[in-house]
């Protein structure tokens, strides 16, 4: 028997009325009050998410950069201390092991942030690939709590708790500092498409930090926000979620993440297969859509062409609380992306209107 894992904030969630569910083996709040209201709060004001379930790994050593350049698709040589990079790492066949953030702390000293459901798999994979490189990969996941404060008022809220000038830390940059007396990595990143910060602190400090953010949150309209809103916010922003838009079988090129695949940096795991896919064109494509209807188009629903033949499947679907209509993403045959596509939801045919995300205007700094 394996019980769900808990973050340092588990009791905090229960005290604050979090509705707990199993997510990728973690006991996490899907919502506190209402997924729709929490979503809207992040677009209008700000929300506090516990993302301590996310994994962290240290990559350290003289050949850490050389190893990362081999491991991931994006170009880590562009990093400098204080800079963050979004990337994926692939299998030799081009499918995705995981998507991740790479933080450069210093020469030969990197921190990776990986998906909760992939921690064991990723660590094994990375340690295997690191053989022959003069560097080490260490799982640090249990050592960190991670809080995301996201939304247009998020930075102003956190600014009341820290001497670090947050306006000096640009999007996809980070610094070390103290927030509410807690030592943190202050990262100007997020998964909502809004301005905000992600704070990494020692696991034992997580509750103290969360309580301080809540205590300071009133004037900023802070809402406690769960994984339900996190998913609808990321989909509305057009961000991929591992297991949906990217998987072991869906390459970054297929997923529209060609911008994180840098062939000019030299060979890396999967580069020859991805290069061939880019040159010949993908057999399938991830597309984003809206329907003009409130019925949610859920993952695994078949996508049909005008003749009613299946040409793909839905990989993510939700109701956009901002647009008030169903939005989602689908994996479809590349040949049909210019044709009319539809889905059948309980006997009602709904046309998919393909959209280049984000679905709503975003206000990233």
């Amino acid at each position: 028997m394996s019980l769900p894992q808990t973050t340092p904030l588990n009791a905090f969630h229960r005290q604050h009325g979090g509705r707990m569910v199993d997510f990728a083996g973690w006991d996490m709040p899907v919502q506190y009050r209402s997924i729709l209201e929490e979503h809207k709060a992040v677009r209008a004001r700000c929300g506090l998410f516990d993302v301590s379930h996310m994994g962290e790994a240290d990559v350290k050593g003289p050949e850490a950069l050389k190893f990362l350049q081999h491991l991931v698709t994006n170009d880590c040589s562009k990093l400098f201390p204080g800079r963050v990079l979004y990337t994926v790492m692939c299998y030799p066949h081009g499918g995705v092991v995981d998507d991740l953030l790479v933080y450069m702390r210093g020469e030969g000293d990197y921190l990776l942030c990986i998906n909760a459901g992939n921690i064991a798999k990723d660590i094994t994979w990375m340690q295997e690939q690191a053989k022959g490189y003069n560097c080490t990969v260490t799982d640090r996941s249990p050592d960190y709590a991670q809080l995301a404060i996201q939304g247009p008022t998020a930075a102003a809220l956190v600014q009341t708790l820290t001497k670090t000038a947050l306006t000096e830390v640009k999007y996809y940059h980070f610094t070390n500092g103290e927030v509410a007396g807690v030592r943190c990595i202050i990262s100007r990143t997020g998964y909502t498409g809004e301005d905000g910060v992600e704070l990494y602190c020692a696991s034992g400090d997580g509750v103290r930090l969360a309580e301080a953010v809540v205590a300071a949150g009133g004037p900023f309209g802070l809402e406690l926000t769960g994984l339900g809103a996190r998913d609808s916010l990321r989909l509305e922003a057009g961000f991929p979620l591992y297991g949906h838009e990217i998987t072991e079988l869906i390459t970054p090129i297929t997923a529209g993440l060609g911008w994180v695949v840098k062939f000019d940096k030299g060979p890396f795991i999967g580069s020859d297969v991805l290069q061939a896919e880019k040159e010949k064109g993908s057999a399938q494509k991830i597309v984003f859509f809206k329907t003009g209807d409130r019925r949610i188009v859920r993952a695994e629903t078949p996508v049909l062409n005008a003749a009613g033949h299946p040409v793909g499947r839905i990989v993510s679907g939700t109701l956009s609380p901002i647009l008030n209509e169903a939005i989602g993403s689908a994996l479809v045959d590349a040949a049909v992306v210019k044709e009319p596509l539809c889905v059948d939801i309980r006997g009602t045919k709904l046309n998919l209107q393909l959209v280049k995300p984000p679905f709503v205007p975003l206000k990233k700094n």
Partner: protein, 127 residues
């Protein structure tokens, strides 16, 4: 604790029924049901005039999490559906026994309603 009004009858499948003196009844889903589903985003109800058998699916209540069938607790013919739910399905969350009602039936057999759960029994079921 969820709200279980004393004047209603209940189905195990979490619908409520309010019988009027004229042999009609109003149907909706319970407070317990709306709370379990979370934010309701879409409600599909039958057309006026549809004849429903007891236990038959009459529609779908969809939340962010899932789509769930709803069942007619008793047999009858649909007299009226709540026109507000099309644009404002969240009324089911806000007022499951009031503005969030789903349909009105002309009962085929008013005696059927007596066989439904009492408020006390439904409260026990959802305790």
């Amino acid at each position: 604790m969820s709200n279980v009004p004393a004047e209603l009858r209940y189905a195990k499948s979490h619908e409520w029924l309010k019988v009027a003196a004229d042999g009609t009844a109003t149907i909706g889903i319970t407070d317990y049901a709306q709370n379990s589903l979370g934010d309701i985003t879409f409600v599909q109800v039958p057309k006026v005039g549809t004849a429903l058998k007891a236990g038959e699916t009459f529609g779908v209540v969809e939340s962010v999490k899932a789509a769930s069938d709803v069942y007619a607790p008793v047999a009858g013919t649909v007299l009226e559906v709540n026109p507000a739910l099309d644009a404002n399905p969240e009324k089911v969350n806000q007022s499951p026994y009031g503005d969030g009602w789903m349909l009105k039936l002309k009962l085929a057999n008013p005696a059927e309603a007596a066989a439904l759960l009492s408020p006390a029994d439904y409260a026990k079921l959802t305790a």
